[in-house]
């Protein structure tokens, strides 16, 4: 395959898209290649729900605490986040540059009797179309895009005035290199090799700077840590490997 060099005004890196598209049906196999994403999912979803419910003053004990909110999932992949968010009542739009991913996500949602608006498109196209959302999420996305600054700017454009932007990604530290690249991809074989490129990881400082350039301020920073004994993930103050960043419009 010829190497596609990213153009400066493009937020999507075609080589990265091809890597994820190759996963195909594996997206939804909890014991398959995406097992680590399935393992981390409950902790991520709990964080998302809590942050959103707190911000909008909804009832956290409700089965549909996100009812009435229009939420965008950028880089939705097979729909591992979009589906649970829809079940929690959100009016979901999931976008992914890979048509293959969108197909898999749509088929899976149909089987689960969920209505989710999946589209094979990019954040910039959606922003250009003037779409607006209560919450815009970019989870494990910025480490795969061609131009982080541009991507974040276009993403926050779509956030309603009283809305939220939530991002998550891998920090560029020695620890994340050891754990995410060497550990997860090579030693534990959790993820297909080459899923991540450490030099593309984004530090919280860089993320915050990109948000600020788009007129957004950081409201919350939280880490996710793996407990090797229990095999589960939990929120923690340690943002060295995987972290969430929550932001809203300045002022």
């Amino acid at each position: 395959m010829p190497q596609v060099s990213p153009q400066p005004n493009l937020t999507v890196d075609p080589a990265e898209v091809a890597r994820f598209e190759a996963l195909g049906e594996e997206w939804w196999d909890p014991k398959g290649k995406m097992a680590p994403l399935h393992a981390i999912n409950p902790a991520r979803l709990a964080f998302l729900r809590d942050v959103i419910v707190r911000h909008f003053g909804h009832d956290p004990r409700s089965l549909r605490p996100l009812k009435g909110l229009r939420v965008l999932d950028i880089g939705c992949g097979g729909g591992l986040i979009s589906e649970p968010m829809a079940r929690m009542g959100a009016d979901m739009v999931g976008i992914d540059p890979s048509a293959g991913n969108v197909e898999i996500a749509s088929a899976h949602a149909a089987r689960a009797d969920l209505t989710i608006d999946y589209r094979a498109t990019t954040a910039e196209e959606l922003a250009d179309a003037g779409e607006r959302f209560d919450v815009v999420m970019a989870l494990e996305v910025v480490e795969h895009v061609a131009d982080v600054g541009l991507f974040v700017r276009r993403a926050v454009e779509m956030v309603q005035p009283n809305g939220l932007f939530i991002g998550s990604t891998l920090n560029r530290t020695g620890k994340s290199f050891a754990l995410a690249i060497v550990g997860a991809e090579y030693v534990l074989r959790w993820l297909p090799r080459g899923t991540h490129r450490w030099d593309k990881f984004v530090t919280p400082g860089e993320f915050e700077a990109s948000l600020a350039a788009g007129g957004f301020e950081m409201r919350e920073l939280a880490g996710l840590s793996f407990d090797p004994l229990r095999g589960t993930w939990a929120l923690s103050a340690d943002t060295d490997v995987n972290y969430f960043i929550v932001a809203g419009p300045m002022g």
Binding site: H38, L45, R49, R61, R111
Partner: protein
């Protein structure tokens, strides 16, 4: 399984969880799920027994501290507390009937927390009534029909009942007892062994108050247990080899009385049976799997253990607490709460515990139900040791109360 095109008849409905069986476990699960999933969740319980209206179970159950906390969270304990008798002491002895004095090896005087009895005796009928009323008040849908059949596909279960009615739900839970028909329909095998023993159960009245004392005498034929009921009454669980048990209940009343007095003793004054003694064969049975596709077994449908340690209902309520917590944790974050991962969590949580309890009570029973003097010496020494080590005894008591291990929230008295 054929993916038949479901014709949408007017008699089809939807639920979030369908529970088959409205016994103590089934109704507790329904209430726990109302607590965990909230008022907008549709919980449906099917049981032909609703049509009969009355629940004539004459037995009483020992409710351990953990199970009582669960019933408190579910708002049921208040309704049964009046009829509940706290067990404050448990005396365990090991002797032959003809021994003059019974050595007292274990005296479980402990309270689990200050002011908390380690178990309560509650008449099953009272508990059943309270749970049924609470379920009705909580908006649980009760249908007086048995489940006729069910079929599962990737997104849910279709449950058939009545003449031609169906219910569609993500999850079906079988709480339909030891001879679970749903377990059979799901093709889940059981492993079991019989003890060749039966329990004779009945209620006695005695002259003097029992002062909250439970006694368990390990006799050669099997354990003879008395459990305190309200007033001057006790529940008797008298284990014998099956032929002997059968012979005993067929004896003329005065002969049965003699046998009873020989075992019960006269420390509480004159004693007389006030319910008809009935015989229940004992066995240990456990389902090979507690789960299937969008299907779970709870309570006696999953396991039936020897009543020696009084743990049957407590184990069932532990199932309820664990399954309700696994379902709630998943549902709260929008995950499919009937997915293999969620059901696996429930199974991992409960299976080891069940097997351990089954083996422990079986071992305990074998140890105490034979005549070997060597074994007798071993258990005398063994139990004596436990009695002398306060820390170990505390653990033993907490275990009898069902509070050790990875305890589900409801068993700790914490709402979901």
């Amino acid at each position: 399984m054929t993916a038949s095109a479901q014709t949408h008849t007017p008699a089809s409905g939807r639920a979030d969880v369908v529970i088959a069986g409205a016994g103590l476990a089934g109704l507790s699960l329904a209430l726990a799920l109302r607590d965990g999933l909230g008022r907008d969740a549709a919980i449906t319980v099917l049981d032909p027994a609703f049509a009969r209206g009355t629940w004539g179970d004459p037995r009483a159950s020992a409710i351990a501290a953990g199970a009582r906390r669960l019933l408190t969270v579910l708002g049921v304990w208040d309704k049964v507390a009046q009829a509940a008798e706290p067990m404050r002491t448990m005396v365990v002895t090991d002797s032959r009937t003809r021994d003059v004095a019974r050595p007292v090896f274990l005296t479980f005087d402990g309270e689990v927390e200050a002011g908390e009895a380690f178990a309560y005796m509650v008449p099953n009928a009272v508990l059943q009534q309270a749970l049924t009323e609470a379920a009705q008040a909580a908006g649980v849908t009760l249908i007086a029909e048995p489940v006729r059949a069910f079929s599962t596909d990737r997104s849910g279960v279709t449950v058939s009942y009545g003449a031609d009615q169906t219910l569609r739900a993500p999850l079906l839970v079988a709480c339909d007892g030891a001879r679970s028909r749903l377990r059979e329909m799901a093709g889940i095998q059981t492993v079991s062994w019989a003890y060749g023993q039966s329990a004779i159960t009945f209620t006695v009245e005695h002259e003097r108050p029992h002062e909250g004392r439970a006694e368990e005498h390990f006799l050669p034929g099997g354990p003879f247990a008395t459990l305190p009921l309200p007033g001057n009454r006790s529940s008797v669980v008298w284990t014998e080899r099956t032929a002997e048990a059968q012979r005993l209940v067929e004896l003329p009343a005065f002969r049965f009385q003699e046998e009873l007095e020989q075992r019960f003793g006269l420390s509480l004054g004159a004693v007389k049976p006030v319910t008809k003694p009935s015989v229940h064969p004992l066995g240990f049975a456990m389902a090979r799997s507690f789960i299937g596709e969008r299907f779970a077994l709870v309570g006696d449908a999953a396991h039936l253990i020897h009543p020696i340690a009084g743990q049957g209902l407590n184990m069932g309520l532990r199932d309820v607490a664990a399954l309700a917590e696994a379902i709630t944790d998943a549902a709260r974050v929008g995950l499919d709460y009937a997915s293999p991962q969620v059901l696996e969590r429930y199974q991992r949580w409960r299976r080891f515990d069940t097997l351990a309890m089954g083996v422990a009570t079986d071992g305990l029973n074998k140890l105490f139900s034979n005549h070997s003097d060597a074994l007798r010496l071993m258990r005398d020494v063994g139990l004596g040791l436990v009695d002398r080590l306060p820390r170990l005894k505390g653990l033993f008591i907490k275990d009898a109360a069902g509070l050790t291990g990875a305890v589900p929230k409801l068993m700790r008295g914490v709402a979901l």
